[in-house]
């Protein structure tokens, strides 16, 4: 899968994955993100190009979210397509993440 990274000001980072986040690509996704957020305090995940997510993808997000929380950083997930949003709601992820 393709992952776009956009550096912002004040240690903020925007990451935009594209395509499917499933059992095959979730590992790559989380590795990429975790390796980029060492010094980042504010992480934004732009989901506008994500077309599919399974439990593997959710686990990856969970890992990233916990990582940011430990650092007292913030995590925002934005531009979430409807079908992905339904999954976040189904699993209660909309309550533990900042989803917009």
């Amino acid at each position: 899968m393709e992952i776009e990274k956009i550096m912002g000001e004040d240690n903020s980072l925007c990451i935009k994955p594209a395509g499917r986040i499933d059992i095959m690509s979730a590992g790559t996704f989380s590795k990429e993100v975790l390796s980029s957020i060492e010094n980042i305090n504010a992480l934004t995940l732009d989901f506008s190009e994500v077309i599919y997510i399974s439990s593997a993808g959710l686990r990856a997000i969970l890992e990233i979210a916990k990582n940011m929380e430990i650092k007292n950083g913030s995590l925002y997930i934005v531009n979430v397509p409807r079908n992905i949003l339904d999954i976040f709601r189904m699993t209660g992820f909309d309550k533990i993440l900042n989803i917009g």
Binding site: D22, I23, S54, S55, R59, L62, E69, T91, K95, L97
Partner: protein, 511 residues
């Protein structure tokens, strides 16, 4: 012109006045002036002659003017529409003749007008009868819901030449899987033929629904038609009965024009038909039914001889060859749109006949088979339960869903649950050894059924506790998420352990 009374009066005055003057002159001349008595005598005679002439003229005038008045009155009456008038004729000579002629003229006019009235009434009646009959017939056009079935498309048109036609088409379900369609032509014109046509139409439907085999259906139709056929009408017909679940089609041609068949991606050609006698003539005729199979995309084109016998102004017939050429024009041949195919033929016939009036009814029916959508098709896959096989497994799910005509909306859901189950099995079923997972994917009516079978560790994934979806981030665990999502996404999920196999069945109700 002087008022005739005034002029008569004047004439009277002149006549009598003149006579009186003559008399006075004679009297004065003889007794007073002593004019020559011979001269007086002559003047007296002249005066008398003058009087006689005057009176004679006046009386003649009166006689003629009476007749003329009679004739003038008569003309006036005829002019205002009263043709019943006859003048009393007691005259002789030219006037008598004139009055006679007037009388016969009046009689002729009366008869002529009366005949015209009868004719016009007759025509008006028959025209309105035909219009009524025609609108009744038009009401019995077959229901249009058949046109929107998944398994086939059908479209037909009928255009009559006179107000009431002898052609008809019909299509209907005999039972949930058998669909009958036909075109027919009743030989005969006018209202009796149209009524016979209606009878035939109803008869066909009733016999089809009451009888089981196509042969029995046709023979019953024929026998019944023979028994009600008082005016020696006959019916030509091409009919087909199709099993929409298998594509098998029975057809029969009774003295009708051979239809055309086009296989998917092929060209139109005339269907090979066995010739059978027309219906309604010989009750014991042994009708020969034919059989073939239609596949997805095949088209049948039925029509009546109004097309092939359409004439141009040189009396040349449109014919079967032109019809074939028209249908095989690439724009028509490659079209799946039955309305367009029919209108292309209509336009071609129209440009052939030009200004020439349509002399026979034109009926066309096109039928396209789309294949059996409701069939229970099952696809299976067997592969080693390893994560690295997920890619091929997922592709298989996608392509099978397409084969089973599952829409994009349901596909997403399908892929999610498939992944979760597959990954579960791949991760846990065979911890010590290699093993396969067998997947069955089918659509049964409006249910999508996925079944996963593995011979690994006995394990019921449904027993796993649901994750706490209300827990805070730091308390969230990974376990159980996948199977939880499956449970929430499908209409049914069930597990059983049988013959040393874990069997997980998932059902999604298909919209």
């Amino acid at each position: 012109m002087l008022n005739r009374n005034k002029s008569k009066l004047l004439l009277l005055l002149i006549t009598f006045g003149g006579f009186l003057c003559g008399l006075v002159f004679c009297f004065v001349g003889y007794f007073i002036l002593k004019i020559n008595p011979l001269f007086i005598g002559a003047v007296f005679v002249l005066s008398v002659i003058f009087l006689i002439l005057g009176v004679a003229y006046l009386s003649l005038l009166r006689r003629y003017s009476a007749s003329l008045r009679k004739l003038s009155h008569m003309t006036q009456q005829i002019g205002s529409g009263n043709f019943d008038i006859q003048a009393e004729n007691v005259e002789e000579g030219e006037i008598g003749e004139l009055i006679n002629n007037f009388n016969s003229m009046s009689k002729n006019i009366k008869n002529y007008v009366s005949d015209m009235n009868i004719q016009a009434k007759k025509e008006a009646t028959s025209k309105s009868e035909l219009t009524i009959a025609n609108s009744i017939l038009n009401y019995t056009v077959p229901s249009s819901f058949c046109e929107n079935m998944d398994e086939f498309d059908v479209y037909a048109t009928m255009k009559s030449a006179k107000e009431v036609g002898g052609d008809f088409y019909d299509y209907f379900f005999i039972n949930p899987t058998q669909f009958m369609f036909l075109v027919a032509d009743v030989a005969g014109t006018g209202i009796p033929a149209a009524l016979f046509m209606m009878n035939t139409k109803e008869l066909i439907k009733n016999m089809a629904k009451e009888n089981s085999s196509p042969k029995r259906i046709i023979e019953k139709i024929n026998r019944k038609l023979c028994s009600i056929n008082k005016k020696n009408f006959f019916v030509t017909m091409f009919a087909a009965i199709m099993d929409i679940s298998t594509g098998e089609i029975f057809f029969i041609n009774c003295g009708h024009n051979p239809p055309l068949i086009k296989r998917k991606d092929g060209k139109y050609k005339y269907l090979e038909i066995a010739s059978n006698l027309v219906l309604g003539v010989y009750p014991n005729f042994n009708y020969k039914i034919q059989k073939t199979k239609l596949n997805e995309g095949d088209i049948l084109f039925l029509y009546t001889d109004g097309i092939t016998e359409a004439m141009d102004d040189r009396d040349e017939l449109y014919g079967e060859t032109r019809l074939l050429i028209c249908l095989n024009d690439y724009r028509t041949c490659e079209s799946d749109d039955l309305k367009k195919v029919i209108s292309d033929v209509q336009n071609d016939v129209k440009s052939f006949t030009g200004e020439r009036e349509q002399i026979d009814d034109v009926t066309m029916l096109a039928f396209k088979y789309n294949g059996n959508k409701k069939q229970t098709k099952e696809e299976t896959l067997s592969l080693p339960a390893k994560i690295e096989n997920f890619g091929s497994f997922n592709s298989w799910i996608e392509s099978t869903a397409e084969k089973l005509n599952i829409g994009k909306a349901d596909l997403s859901r399908l892929q999610l649950v498939s992944e979760e189950v597959f990954v579960n099995i791949a991760n846990y079923a065979y911890p010590d050894k290699k093993g396969d997972v067998d997947i069955s994917f089918k659509k049964d009516g409006n249910e999508i059924v996925l079944r996963f079978v593995d011979s690994g560790v006995q394990y019921n994934p449904l027993e796993k506790a649901n994750p706490d979806i209300n827990a805070r981030l730091r308390d969230r665990k990974n376990g159980g998420l996948g199977i939880f999502m499956v449970k929430k996404s499908v209409d049914f999920v069930g597990y059983e352990y049988k013959d040393n196999q874990n069997i997980l069945t998932i059902k999604i109700l298909y919209a």
